[in-house]
Amino acid sequence: GESVGLHLPTLSVQEGDNSIINCAYSNSASDYFIWYKQESGKGPQFIIDIRSNMDKRQGQRVTVLLNKTVKHLSLQIAATQPGDSAVYFCAEPAGSSGTYKYIFGTGTRLKVLA
C-alpha cells in the first residue's frame, strides 16, 4: 500500500556487523520479490531477487529470506561496509503474472557507523 506521512525507518549498524532489513507484504499470492538499493542521488539498483518456491537465496554478502506464512521478507547483509549506506526497498509485482506494475515498500535507510 501507499506510505503517506511516514518517516523513513532508519537502521544504524556498526561497520563490520551484520544488517537485517525487513519488509512485510500484503498479497499472499505474490510469487516474486526484489530488493533494491538506492544510494544518495542515484536510482535504485537491483541487489537480489527471490521466487516464492524458495525460502532463501544467497548472493555476495547478501541473503534474502522469505517467510510466506507471515508474509515477511528480509535482507541480510554480512559484514556491513560504509558503501552499504543507502535506502533499501523491497518490491513485488502487483496483480497476476504478466503484470507491468511493481509495488515498492516504504524503504529503510541503512546507516553504517564507523
Binding site: 506510505s3 511516514l6 503474472s97 504478466g98 507491468y100 511493481y102
Partner: protein, 113 residues
C-alpha cells in the same frame, strides 16, 4: 556504458510551465516505466510501456503524457506544472513484464517554484 539515461538531471521551473524529461535505454529491453519518488522516498509507478504501447497508467493526471517513439525511448511531458509535481522522476526498463528486475535511470529532480 550507461544502461538507462535520463535528461535533464535537474529541472527547475515555474508553475504553469510545460516541461519534458527524456529517457533512453540501450539494454534492448521492451518494457519501460516512469516512477515518481516523493520527498519521503516513496516510489510509485506512474506508467508502463511495452513495445511502445501503454500498459499501465496509474491514475496519473492527464497533464502527464508519456510518449514512446521506439522501444528504446520513453519520454515524459508535463503540462501546466504544479507545486505538487516537485519530486524525483525515475525511468526504468526491463525485459518483458513482471518477475524481472528493473534497471533504473539516475533520476530527474524536478522543482516547481
Amino acid at each position: 556504458d550507461t544502461a538507462v539515461s535520463q535528461t535533464p538531471k535537474y529541472l527547475v521551473t515555474q508553475m504553469g510551465n510545460d516541461k519534458s524529461i527524456k529517457c533512453e535505454q540501450n539494454l534492448g529491453h521492451d518494457t519501460m516505466y516512469w516512477y515518481k519518488q516523493d520527498s519521503k522516498k516513496f516510489l510509485k509507478i506512474m506508467f508502463s510501456y511495452n513495445n511502445k504501447e501503454l500498459i499501465i497508467n496509474e491514475t496519473v493526471p492527464n497533464r502527464f503524457s508519456p510518449k514512446s517513439p521506439d522501444k528504446a525511448h520513453l519520454n515524459l511531458h508535463i503540462n501546466s506544472l504544479e507545486l505538487g509535481d516537485s519530486a524525483v522522476y525515475f525511468c526504468a526498463s526491463s525485459h518483458g513484464s513482471g518477475k524481472m528486475k528493473q534497471y533504473f535511470g539516475p533520476g530527474t529532480r524536478l522543482t516547481v517554484t
